[in-house]
Subunit: 896 residues, 2 copies
C-alpha cells in the first residue's frame, strides 16, 4: 500500500498546491492554492488530501500515520503568517474546516467555522476586537455548528434555545441578541450537548476540536445526502474528500464587514456582467442557508465602493485565469476584501449557451471547447414549456426567479412525501420555508420548488438550477404551516394536495393548473447548435406519432421520424370503439369490416406525418401492444357489474329490472372477452409482430394505410421516405413472414397509383434473441432500430412498471449505478447492442442502424451509440437538441 510509507505527504499548504491537483486536494483546495499563488487576498491555510480520506476509511476510521503531525506542522505555518496562535487566549487563531471533493458538490458537505474558540479564547477575541458581542456570537455559532455536525446533536435543539432569547417579531434576523442573552445561549448550548451526549462535554481543547472536525468532514463523505448527490450526478464513490483548514476572516464584525457570492457572469441568463449577492455584518452560512434575504452585488458599489472596485478587478482576473465563468465566495472584514473560494460556476442551460457563444466571440475559447462545455442535459430547461402569456392567471405570490421554466403540481410540504407521491406518478411542488441539504431527496423528486425565504444562491436555488427544474425562492408573503399542511398567502389558503403553478423564469406563484406554451429559441442557441451539428456524425431523429409533434420535432432539428407508434392513433374515443369492434370480431369477415373503417383514419394520420416530414425519412412501427390494452380494464368492468347488480337488487319496476339485466348481460359478455385476452405477463405476451402473424389482416390494413398515404403525399407535392418497422422480432422467420405481407400490399397499392416509391422494411431489435441472431435477421431487414427500453426490460428481467418498488433502493445501495431505463446499462444491455450491430453489419454491411428507445435522448447513452457506430438516434422531440449536442460531444471526445 502507498499509505504504508511513514513519510507520505498527507498535508499541503495552500502555497504548495495548484489547480491541476484537484484529484488530490479537491476542487476547493486546488483553487485556493491556485489563487494563493496568484497573489490574491486568500486567508492562509492548508489542505489534507483526499488520499487521507480514503486511508481513513481503509484504516477502520483512523487517521493514517503522519497525517496529524503534518497537520499540526501546517497549522504552525498559518500561525506564523497570521501572527496569531491556535488556542492562544491573547491572540487566538480561528480556522474554518471545510470539505472539498474533486468534483464540486455544493451544499452537500459540512463546513465548520470559528474553530479554535473556547471559554478562554473567546475572551481573548473580545479583548482583541473590542467587541464582546461579536466574540460571544461567534462562539455560540461555533458551539451549535460543532455540536450539530461533529457531535451529532439535532440543530433544532439549539434553535429552540436561541428562539427563547429572541424577542417576538425578530425571528427574521438574529443579529439582535445582546451580551447577556448570548452568555445564556452559550450556557444553554453546552448543557444541550452534555445531556444529549450523556455526559460528554463540548471540547475546550482546540486540538481536540480540530481532530474531531477533520473526522467529521471525512464522515460527511458518507452521509446520506452526499451519497444521494453522487448517485444523482453519477459521481464515483471512491474519490474521497479533502479537508481545507483555513484562517477565519469575519464578515460579521460590523457594518463595514460582510460576506457574499459573486459570479463573473449571470448564471441564469449568461449576461456578461458581475452578478451576485451579499449581506453586511454576516457570516457565509447566512447567505447559503437563505435565512436573511441578501442584497444584489451592485448595491455594494454604493455601500463599499473601494471593496466593490477591488472585487470587480479580482473577479475579472479569475475568469481570465480559468477561462470560464467563476463562482466566487468572498468576505469583507472591516473593509478588507478576502477571497475564500472560486470555482467554475453552475449555470442554467440558457446561460451556459450564452456564455459559451460569447466566449468564442471574445476569442477566449474555441468552438470545440464551447460545444464540449455545455452539459447537454441543461438544454432541457430551454425547451420546457413556459406559462401561456395568453392565459389569465391568478398570482398568489411573487418570489425570486431562481431557476427558469414553468411547472404545475400539487402542493407538498414534506420531502419524503414528495418522493413518495412522485414515485406514484403524481406531479408535486415542494413548498418549504427554506431548504437544507437534508431535503435533497425531496428536491430531486419534486417537479419544482418554492421557498418563502432565501435568495438566488440559496440552497434551493442552486440545487434546482443544477437539476434544471423550475424554482421560485424568497416568496416572503407565504405563511407556511407544516403541521397543518397549509400555506396562507393574502386571502388564499392552499392545502396539501392543491394545485399551483410556478413560473421559475419570472418568480411568479400561480393558482391552480395553468396552461403552458413552448419557448422560442433565440440566436445564441441557433449559433451554438449549428456549431454542434457541424461536429457530429450521428443523425438525430424524433419519436412522434402525428403531424403536430413531427413539426415540433422538425423545428427542434430532427432529421426524420425514428419511431411513429401507430397504436397511439387508435386512442381517440371514436377510434377506440372501432378498434374494439376489430378486436372483439367473431370471425375474419367481421374483423376485416372493422379494419376497413380504421384504414381511412390511419391513412389520414400518416398523410399528415409525411407532409410534415417532407424530404425526411419516417419510420412507422406496425401495431405493437397486446390487444387487451385497447379493451376496458377487467377490474373496472367487474366493479361496474357488481354495482349494477346492487342496483338490480333495489330495482322496483319491471322496466328498470329489464334495463339493468340487459346492461349486466352485455357487460358480462364483454368481461368474458377481456378475460380471454388477458395475460399474466403482457410484456412477454401476444404483441408486436406476433399479432401480425396471427392476424395478417392487421398488417395488411396498416401497410395499405401507410403506402396509400405516401402516394397521396407525393401527389400533394411532398418527397416521402417511408420506412415500415416490424416490432418485437425474435426469429428471422417472423420478419420474413411479415415482410412478405408488407411487400405484397405495397406492390398492390403502388401499382394502383402507378407510382414507384422505395419503401424500406426493417425491424426493432428489442429482444435479446434478436440481438443474438442479428446476422440471420439482417438478411431480411433494410434497417435495424434498437428498442432499448424493451431490450433493457428483457435483458435485465426488469419490468419498468414494477421495478419502481425496488429500483430506488438498488441505486441507493449501489447495486446499480443509475436507473437503467434512463441511462443504458452498457455492461449488460450494451453488450447485446454491440453484438446486434456487429452481427447485423457482418451479414449486411450497408444495414442502416439506429436506436429509438428513450436512451436516444440521454447524453451518456448517445455517446455509447456513437461509439458502436450507429447511424442515428431517435428520441422525444424535446430531447432532440440534447441528442444533437450529445452526439457532437461524443464525436469530439472520440477524436481526443
Amino acid at each position: 500500500m502507498l499509505y504504508e510509507n511513514r513519510d507520505h505527504k498527507w498535508v499541503y499548504l495552500f502555497a504548495e498546491g495548484n489547480t491541476r491537483m484537484k484529484a488530490l486536494l479537491g476542487g476547493k483546495g486546488a483553487n485556493v492554492a491556485e489563487m494563493t499563488n496568484a497573489h490574491l487576498p486568500v486567508p492562509p491555510g492548508f489542505t489534507i488530501t483526499t488520499e487521507a480520506c480514503n486511508a481513513y476509511y481503509e484504516y477502520d476510521r483512523q487517521f493514517p500515520e503522519g497525517m496529524w503531525s503534518q497537520s499540526q506542522e501546517a497549522l504552525g505555518h498559518v500561525e506564523g503568517q497570521t501572527e496569531k496562535g491556535f488556542g492562544n487566549p491573547e491572540n487566538p487563531l480561528l480556522v474554518s474546516v471545510r470539505s472539498g471533493a474533486a468534483i464540486s458538490m455544493p451544499g452537500m458537505m459540512d463546513t465548520i467555522l470559528n474553530l479554535g474558540l473556547n471559554d478562554e479564547t473567546v475572551e481573548g477575541l473580545a479583548t482583541l476586537t473590542g467587541d464582546r458581542r461579536f466574540a460571544l456570537d461567534a462562539y455560540r455559532r461555533f458551539i451549535a455548528m460543532f455540536g450539530h455536525i461533529v457531535m451529532g446533536v439535532s440543530s433544532e435543539k439549539f434553535d429552540r434555545v436561541l428562539s427563547r432569547y429572541k424577542s417576538a417579531g425578530q425571528a427574521q434576523s438574529d443579529v439582535v441578541l445582546e451580551v447577556p442573552q448570548l452568555e445564556k445561549v452559550i450556557l444553554g448550548y453546552k448543557r444541550i450537548i452534555f445531556s444529549d451526549r450523556r455526559g460528554e462535554e463540548f471540547p475546550q481543547n482546540v486540538y481536540d476540536q480540530l481532530r474531531m472536525a477533520i473526522s467529521a468532514v471525512f464522515e460527511s463523505w458518507n452521509s446520506r445526502r452526499a451519497i444521494d448527490y453522487r448517485r444523482i450526478h453519477n459521481i464515483a464513490e471512491g474519490l474521497g474528500t479533502a479537508v481545507n483548514v483555513q484562517a477565519m476572516v469575519f464578515g460579521n464584525r460590523g457594518w463595514d464587514s460582510g460576506t457574499g457570492v459573486a459570479f463573473t457572469r449571470n448564471p441564469a441568463t449568461g449576461e456578461r456582467d458581475i452578478y451576485g449577492e451579499y449581506l453586511l455584518n454576516a457570516q457565509g452560512e447566512d447567505i447559503v442557508a437563505g435565512i436573511r434575504t441578501p442584497n444584489t452585488i451592485d448595491t455594494l458599489a454604493k455601500e463599499l465602493p473601494m471593496v466593490y472596485a477591488q472585487l470587480r478587478e479580482i473577479t475579472a482576473k479569475l475568469e481570465t485565469h480559468y477561462q470560464d465563468m467563476q463562482d466566487i465566495e468572498f468576505t469583507i472584514e472591516q473593509g478588507k476584501l478576502w477571497i475564500l473560494q472560486t470555482r467554475t460556476g453552475k449555470r442554467t442551460g440558457a446561460a451556459a449557451i450564452h456564455i459559451a457563444v460569447d466566449m468564442v466571440n471574445e476569442g477566449v475559447i474555441d468552438k470545440e471547447t464551447a460545444v464540449l462545455r455545455v452539459d447537454p442535459s441543461l438544454l432541457d430547461q430551454l425547451l420546457h414549456p413556459m406559462i401561456d402569456p395568453a392565459v389569465d392567471v391568478t398570482i398568489l405570490a411573487q418570489g425570486l426567479p431562481a431557476s427558469p421554466g414553468a411547472a404545475t403540481g400539487r402542493v407538498v410540504f414534506d420531502p419524503d412525501e414528495a418522493e413518495e407521491l412522485t414515485q406514484n406518478g403524481e406531479r408535486v411542488i415542494l413548498v418549504r420555508h427554506e431548504t437544507s441539504p437534508d431535503d435533497f431527496h425531496g428536491l430531486a423528486a419534486a417537479n419544482a420548488v418554492l421557498t418563502a425565504r432565501g435568495g438566488m444562491t440559496s440552497h434551493a436555488a442552486v440545487v434546482a438550477r443544477g437539476m434544471g427544474k423550475p424554482c421560485v425562492v424568497g416568496a416572503e408573503s407565504l405563511d407556511i404551516n407544516y403541521e397543518e399542511g397549509i400555506f396562507q398567502v393574502g386571502t388564499h389558503e392552499m392545502r396539501r394536495g392543491d394545485w399551483i403553478t410556478l413560473d421559475g423564469s419570472t418568480g411568479r406563484v400561480l393558482l391552480g393548473q395553468v396552461a403552458t406554451v413552448q419557448p422560442e429559441l433565440g440566436g445564441p442557441f441557433n449559433t451554438f447548435m449549428t456549431w454542434a451539428d457541424n461536429m457530429r456524425r450521428l443523425q438525430v431523429r424524433a419519436n412522434a406519432d402525428n403531424g403536430v409533434d413531427a413539426q415540433v420535432a422538425r423545428d427542434f432539428g430532427a432529421e426524420g421520424i425514428g419511431l411513429c407508434r401507430t397504436e397511439h392513433m387508435f386512442m381517440g374515443e371514436e377510434r377506440l370503439a372501432i378498434m374494439r369492434e376489430m378486436i372483439l370480431a367473431e370471425d375474419l369477415a367481421a374483423r376485416e369490416f372493422a379494419l376497413e373503417k380504421l384504414l381511412p383514419i390511419q391513412r389520414q394520420d400518416f398523410l399528415e406525418l409525411f407532409m410534415a416530414m417532407d424530404g425526411l425519412p419516417v419510420t412507422i412501427r406496425l401495431l405493437d401492444p397486446p390487444l387487451h390494452e385497447f379493451l376496458p380494464d377487467y377490474e373496472l368492468l367487474q366493479g361496474e357489474i357488481a354495482e349494477l347488480k346492487l342496483q338490480l337488487n333495489q330495482a322496483k319496476s319491471f322496466n328498470e329490472i329489464d334495463h339493468l339485466l340487459k346492461q349486466i348481460w352485455s357487460k358480462e359478455q364483454l368481461l368474458r372477452q377481456v378475460e380471454r385476452l388477458r395475460e399474466a405477463n403482457p410484456m412477454l405476451g401476444h404483441r408486436g409482430c406476433r399479432l401480425g402473424l396471427i392476424h395478417p389482416e392487421v398488417t395488411e390494413m396498416q401497410t395499405r394505410a401507410i403506402v396509400e398515404a405516401s402516394c397521396e403525399a407525393r401527389i400533394a407535392g411532398a418527397r416521402v421516405m417511408p420506412e415500415i418497422m416490424i416490432p418485437l422480432v425474435g426469429m428471422a422467420a417472423e420478419l420474413v413472414n411479415q415482410r412478405q405481407i408488407v411487400e405484397r400490399i405495397a406492390d398492390e397499392v403502388l401499382s394502383t397509383y402507378g407510382m414507384r416509391t422505395e419503401i424500406k422494411i426493417g425491424t426493432m431489435i428489442e429482444l435479446p434473441r434478436a440481438a443474438l441472431t442479428a446476422d440471420q435477421i439482417a438478411q431480411h431487414a433494410d434497417f435495424f432500430s434498437f428498442g432499448t427500453n424493451d431490450l433493457t426490460q428483457t435483458t435485465m428481467g426488469l419490468s419498468r412498471d414494477d421495478s419502481t418498488r425496488f429500483l430506488p433502493s438498488y441505486i441507493k445501495a449501489g447495486i446499480l449505478p443509475h436507473d437503467p431505463f434512463q441511462t443504458l446499462d452498457q455492461d449488460g444491455v450494451g453488450q447485446l447492442v454491440q453484438t446486434g450491430v456487429t452481427k447485423g453489419r457482418e451479414a449486411k454491411p450497408n444495414l442502416k442502424i439506429g436506436v429509438c428507445g428513450e436512451h436516444g435522448g440521454d447524453p451518456a447513452s448517445v455517446a455509447f451509440f456513437d461509439q458502436v457506430g450507429m447511424e442515428y438516434v431517435s428520441c422525444s422531440p424535446f430531447r432532440v437538441p440534447i441528442a444533437r449536442l450529445a452526439a457532437a460531444q461524443a464525436s469530439l471526445r472520440a477524436r481526443l
Copy 2:
C-alpha cells in the same frame, strides 16, 4: 446447379441401389434395393430420387429434365422382368406408386395401388386371371384411390356410392360385391370425378396416370399431415421424398392370397419371436386402415404353412442383415410370398430396451450401439403410471393393447376438438372408429387413443406407440355415434366430456377416472442403464422439493438435488397463513415474528431432504416468486366483497349488518394490501434475490433453516453437501450482497453447533444479463445453475403462460422448429448459455456449472449441455433415466 446437367440420373432400378443410399432413394427405396440384391422375393421396380422431388419444387412444380424419360426407360425394364406390358390390354403390368422419405414417416405419405388399370386393361386382367370380379374390384379401388389422392376428390363421395351397393349388415367387409354391382360402382366413381373436377375425366392413358401419381407423391411431401409429422418429430423440411414404382402383386386374388405385416421381434414387449398380423384375400391398405380386424401371424402357420415357413426364414435373414428389429410388409399372391418392404421397426420403450439388451447378449451388437439405439424419450413410457391393481375397476370394453401405459381423460371424438381442449389444459382421450393420417394432429394432442376397429399395426397403434402414449385399438363392442357425440358399450352410454381410463398395456377400457401406480423397473432396464451410466460424462440430478420426491429421484438414479424450490414449502394451508402474516407485516418486528414461526417448518423440510440425499449434493434455492403469489387472488377478493355487499343490502338485523360490515372491512383492507403488491409483469418484477435485497430477514431465516437442518442431519448420521442458490441474479453486486448475509448466518449457526460444513454458495443464471456478465458474477459464485426456463422467457421475450395462445401456430407455420420450453433454442438461448459458461470459467476455472430448467430432461438439450461442458443437468425425478441415457448418447456421439 447440380440439376442442370441433362444426363443427371434421377431414376434407379431396385437392382442399382443399396441401403446406404437412403438420403437419395428414401428409406423404402434403399431397403427394397438392398432386398433385391439379397435375392429376396421382391416385385421388380424402380425409385425416383429425393433430388427429383427437391428439383420439382425448385422448378415451380415441374419434373426436372430427363426424369420422365428415365422413368419410362426403367418401366421398360420392369416390363421385361415381369413379361407384362404397361397399358397392354393383353397382359397388363400394374404398378404401385409409393412415397419414401429418408426418414420413415409411417402413414404420412400417400400410396397408390393398381396403377395401370383402365377400361381396356381391366378386361385383360379379367381374362388373364379368369376372375372378372377381382379385376373390377381392383379397378374400382384404383379409381377411388386415384380420384382421392391424385385428383383431390373427397373419399367420402366414393364411400357413399359404394355403400349404396352394399347389402345392409355387410358394412364390416367389402369383399362381397359382385360383378354387376362393381360395374355400377365403377361408373358411379367416374361420374363423381367428372362432376367434382368440372368436366375432367378419370385418365384412361396409363402414362398420364403414372405422371399424375408421381406429382401427387411429390405434393404429399408438403401436405398438412406430413408437415405436422415432421414438426413433431423434428425432421428437416428440405429432405424431400423419393417415389417408388413397383410391379403390383395381389393379396386379394382369393383365399390363397393375402397381405400382412411382420415384426422380427415383439414391438410392444421386445420378446424374441416373429410378431404380426395378416388378412387373407385383402390388399395392404385393408390392414393399415384397420377396416377388417386381422389375424395374428401364428395362425398363418395353420392356414398356409409353406408360406409361413418361408416368411420366418426371410424375416430372420433380414434381421441378421440389418442387425436390428425389422418391420416387414408382405403379400401372398396365390400362394407365392412377396416381400414389399422392410424397415427398422418402431417399438415401445420396454421393447427397445429388451431388444437392445438381448442383441448385446446374442452378440449381434455391442453395448455402445445398444445404448445409442434406444430413443431416450421412449423411457418415459416405462416410468409412467399404470392402473393401480388394488383398485376395483369397471371394464367398459376390451380391445387390443396397442401401446402401453395408463391414461385418464375426457372422451372426445373430433381431432380438432382434441387439439383445442388440450391447449386449454384438458386431458382428453380421442375415441374413433379408426384413425387415418388426417387425424394426426388429434392423436398428437390427446393423452391416449381408443379405436373400435383396427389391429396392432393399424394407424392409431403405430402412431401412438411412436409417440409413447397409451392406445387401445379394435375395441369392437364400442358403438360410436360421432354426430350425437356418444358411444354405447353394453348398458353404458358415454358422452363427449365423460371420463374414461385406458390401460394400453392390457387393452382395457375403464369407466371414469381410475387411480394409477408407478411400475417396477425390471432387470433389462437396470442392465441397460448401467451400461449408459458407464458411458456418460454429465452428472444427472433431480429437481425435488421434499424428502419423498427426493427418494423417488434417488431410486431413478439421481446423483443429487439440483433444485429445491423452497417456496413450495410454504404452500400448505397452515404454512400459507404464516407466510401471509409475514408478507402483510406492518414493520420489521412483525415480519421477523412471522419468520420465526416459519423457521422450524423449513428446517424440518430441509432435514428430510438432507436425510434422503445422504452423501449427495443438495442445491436449495432461496425464495423466488413474487410475494403476491402467496396472497389471495385480487379478483377473487373483489368478487367476495361484491357478494358481501349484496348480502349487506338484504340484511335485516343489526347483528347481521355489523357482522357483514366487519367482514367487508377486513377484506377491503386485505384487498388494499394485495393491490399494493400486484405487478403488471410479475415475471419481470420483485422476485428472486430482489426480495432478499429488500427483505434481508427472509434470506437470513432461510439460511438459518438450511444450515441448522444440515447440522441436525449430520447429528443424525448423514453426510450433507448443502449448496445455497441465489435466484434471479442480474448484477454481481446482488450476489455479493446476498452472499454476505448467507455467510454471516452460516458462520453463526455452525459455530453454535461447533461444526464445520462446506456450504457452497452459487447462483441461478436465468437472465440474459447474468449470462452476459458471467465473468463478474463468477467471482462471487461457487457454482452456476442455468435456469433455462426463465432464460428462455427473457431471451425470447416470451411468457410461457401467455404464449400458448400463439406458440402452436408458430410451430405449425415453421416460425419455430419446436417448443422452446421443451427443447432449448440453441440458436438464441443457447448462445447465452455458451457465453455464460465460457465467461464463468474464464473468471473461475473450477466453477461448477449445471442446468436446472426443464430442458435438463430433454434429450436434444442434454446433448447441448454436454457439448458446452457443463458438469450436470437436473430435471424432474421421472425424467432422470431419460437424462442419464441422453447424457450417455451425447458422450458417445461426441467421441464419433
